[in-house]
Symmetry: C2
Subunit: 363 residues, 2 copies
């Protein structure tokens, strides 16, 4: 591959050709900011994981029923890899007709001509596509027991993956799919001292349920005098987090964590460990969630966060338009995948068109 | 990475510097032949798998007991990835003091500065390092039941992996570790009509046991009128084989199958499917096995086979010297890894020295 980020041309005196389109994309507000990176060999990875928190009724909107949320990561990985879900009789959208963010990620990877790599951090169900597996377990309910008992081992496994991927790429877009993960993110960030409010895939964020879970968890953490960042993660995180942290520890290229509050929680642990912070990229729909305070958390952590605004409101698709009123908002690195497409020189118009065609094909 | 195969200089008029060393390596007979390939981004993968055939006493020498042969692939992957085996109380050599070929592979990847990627095709035990997992099963005993019932699905999973790796490399050295795999190879090749005799990790190849297994299997195949190559594989192969075939189907770069008779069996199926044949690279110890007819089989298949002769006889290590009298001989892509080091410009002296230092560190 011989792709160079076109953003570099913006610092030159002559803005023409692709440069103009990119300038326009900034003017149009597609990206809130252009990351100052160059790369020749980008890779998109999605970390898949489960936490039993998603099976508590009302916590997660990422599945038709609480139990079915455990299946969502493997269905999304199948959709992105194969272009369709044939292993289970489900549709890749919410009951209200919102397309899964995985369909956006799929569309962007097709536009970029890239094969995704999925990482299995700990899942209830067996994936239907090949995954780089760390042989972790489903995250336990942190109200009652240690959520990720083998967190330290998973960090080590993530570090091995970071080394492998360093040989294979110089830009890593690292997404995640962990239903219930905004609640583990809330617990982690609160335990680390952040005044965090987290986003949700529901239009109406189930704040009271999340707060109640978090209160119970923080009491356990306080009672057991748990203060080290990785021990907090062990107590109340999910399996995606230590794998992402391990990758961040050893990956030699540029790293973009593609996700909202969940990736801010990962960033908060990285910061607490004294390691260098990656970029975070998410959608404007996460930023605009009035029940969360994403920008403030990012500022407190000191992590650079970039927002992608694909303008789903006027695309002519009712389900995508629901992203604008706060449903789904983000997931499976969709924001990062759109950012990558822009970094590779695809115009906002091209990106929007590709997404529209892709989601229409499923509906 | 910006490595170009140095062999290309051999076709130019000026042989100097690295070119001289490489010429010397040919003269010294390190490689039986120089593959005509250029590359900039090599990747070493090892496919791990089990077949229950290795638990039949006397079939496999790849483990202290028949049952322990099932553990060997994950121990070898751990040794190569981490540099030591700490998960189980075992030594990385045979009871007679022969170093596992994985220690050779480890030494070569360190020399080349490359991180290996392991693929879990179907194992009894959970790997201790991250693996790209196709979620296959241990191969069944083909005397009594279908060995790889999901062989077709594993080919599809291998095809997905081939696409992923095509984005990430332009030369793939694909090794394997399947204890008992020479017996599945024998069954496959005989069922496809080859007059094959296969190699063994034992000094004294347990030919009569293998022949008896093969006779029973061929009777089942004949009785059920199984003739298509993938159905033969389903009946009597092991899980490594369909994954390797799937990768071969979609990988866009140059492919080297690193192994002896097992990789010839994979080549025989690829040939029977009408697909283009990769290179096969193995050690001279496999070629020189008087109980096998490796060169004849390769000729019959029409696959280009290259032999690496690392000259272990005079290295000053009693265990490595036993390779020359026919013990171990090859495994975990050791021959391919040595070939890769040579292709990257490392001299035979450098390669031999690195192997000696590595195996002495374990003993």
């Amino acid at each position: 591959m011989t792709i160079i980020s076109l953003w570099i041309v913006l610092t030159s005196d002559t803005l023409k050709g692709k440069g103009d389109e990119i300038l326009e994309s900034i003017i149009m507000g597609f990206l809130s900011e252009v990351p100052e990176i160059t790369f020749t060999n980008p890779l998109f990875c999605g970390i898949l994981g489960n936490t039993l928190l998603s099976t508590i009724p009302g916590v997660s909107g990422a599945g038709a029923t609480p139990e079915k949320t455990l299946l969502t990561p493997i269905l999304d990985a199948e959709l992105i890899t194969r272009g369709a879900i044939t292993s289970h009789p489900v549709r890749p959208d919410t009951p209200t007709g919102c397309p899964t963010p995985a369909s956006i990620t799929r569309a962007m990877l097709q536009l970029c001509g890239l094969q995704p790599l999925f990482i299995n951090a700990g899942l209830r169900h067996t994936p239907t596509v090949p995954c780089l597996d760390v042989y972790g377990n489903v995250g336990e309910d942190p109200r009652f027991r240690t959520a990720v008992p083998n967190a330290y081992d998973l960090v080590k496994k993530g570090e091995i993956i970071g080394k492998i991927l360093s040989d294979r790429s110089d830009l890593l877009i690292l997404g995640e799919c962990v239903p219930g993960g905004t609640t583990t993110a809330l617990c982690i960030m609160r335990a680390l001292g952040y005044e965090a409010s987290v986003s949700s895939s529901f239009v109406n964020n189930p704040i009271s349920i999340k707060e109640e879970i978090c209160r119970t968890v923080l009491e356990r953490i306080k009672a057991d005098v748990i203060t080290s960042p990785l021990d907090i993660l062990r107590y109340t995180g999910d399996p995606m987090m230590p794998v992402a942290i391990g990758i961040s520890n050893t990956y030699l290229g540029k790293l973009i964590l593609a996700g909202g509050t969940q990736m801010l929680a990962v960033s908060a642990v990285i910061k607490a460990l004294g390691c260098s912070l990656p970029y975070v990229v998410t959608t404007s729909y996460v930023r605009d969630d009035p029940s969360a305070n994403v920008r403030q958390i990012a500022d407190q952590i000191g992590v650079k966060i970039i927002f992608v605004d694909p303008g789903f409101g006027d695309l002519g698709h009712a389900g995508l338009a629901r992203y604008c009123i706060g449903e789904v908002k983000e997931g499976m690195g969709a924001g990062g995948a759109m950012c990558l497409a822009a970094l590779l020189g695809h115009s906002p118009a091209e990106i929007r068109e590709k997404i529209l065609v892709a989601v229409n094909a499923y509906c």
